[in-house]
Symmetry: C2
Subunit: 137 residues, 2 copies
């Protein structure tokens, strides 16, 4: 059996996943890059709270960011470790069966198609689908 010299530390990943709000955020990012204002609108939670949870995900290294003027986009950063990546993938797959997660995604889809129906999304850059390359979900 192969025994690499360095093992990937799964604890920070698990700590990041051990919160429902953060799972909801990841669910929304499964195949899109999403702007913070969309997270706030879709999850219907305060901006500071969303930002804080995104910060935890950043700390765990499983999301990355792209600034576009005033807007900050987030997308999943798949761990380079295969096992960690598999765990994250399985997690997102599991979330498909969750009612609230489904509702969140439906709401996100609606917001993408008709942002005019959401006051806070006027003028905001809509979520951008991730390119097939490197996408796990």
């Amino acid at each position: 059996m192969e025994r690499p010299a360095k093992a990937f530390d799964l604890v920070p990943l698990f700590a990041a996943l051990a919160d429902r709000t953060r799972l909801r955020l990841l669910n929304l990012m499964r195949d899109r890059e999403v702007c913070v204002c969309y997270f706030v609108e879709i999850l219907r939670q305060g901006q500071p709270k969303i930002s804080r949870h995104l910060a935890y995900l950043r700390r765990a290294g499983i999301v990355s960011t792209r600034r576009e003027g005033r807007w900050m986009h987030y997308r999943i950063e798949w761990p380079t470790d295969a096992k960690a990546s598999a765990i994250l993938d399985t997690t997102l797959t599991s979330l498909r069966a969750d009612r609230q997660m489904q509702a969140d995604l439906a709401r996100l889809t609606e917001a993408c198609c008709q942002p005019q129906r959401f006051v806070t999304l006027q003028g905001a850059p809509p979520p951008r689908p991730l390119e097939a390359t490197g996408s796990n979900a």
Copy 2:
């Protein structure tokens, strides 16, 4: 796509896994039922601490217990949810690459073969291999 009515809550599982000591405990239980005194001896940590972490694993529902007189044995209880089970399985597989986890297992193997070399294991019931049925690791 199938949409079951009830989703499995992964958060408690992740919370349980988000601690290194608990990962070390699960690593020792991957294919055996292990007595608390063996955990204490192998991990070389205080008994109250080991008990407390085992209590967290019990609370998460991923270990079950069997009392044998003064001795209490613990073994992994694989989640009935396939995704949760896969995550736990992947986790244990990942731990195989960890040096400390390897050392722990080696020490456990030694303790099983020569308990007389460990003061606290005299008279204690050795770990019992799990039967092939239902074993994931």
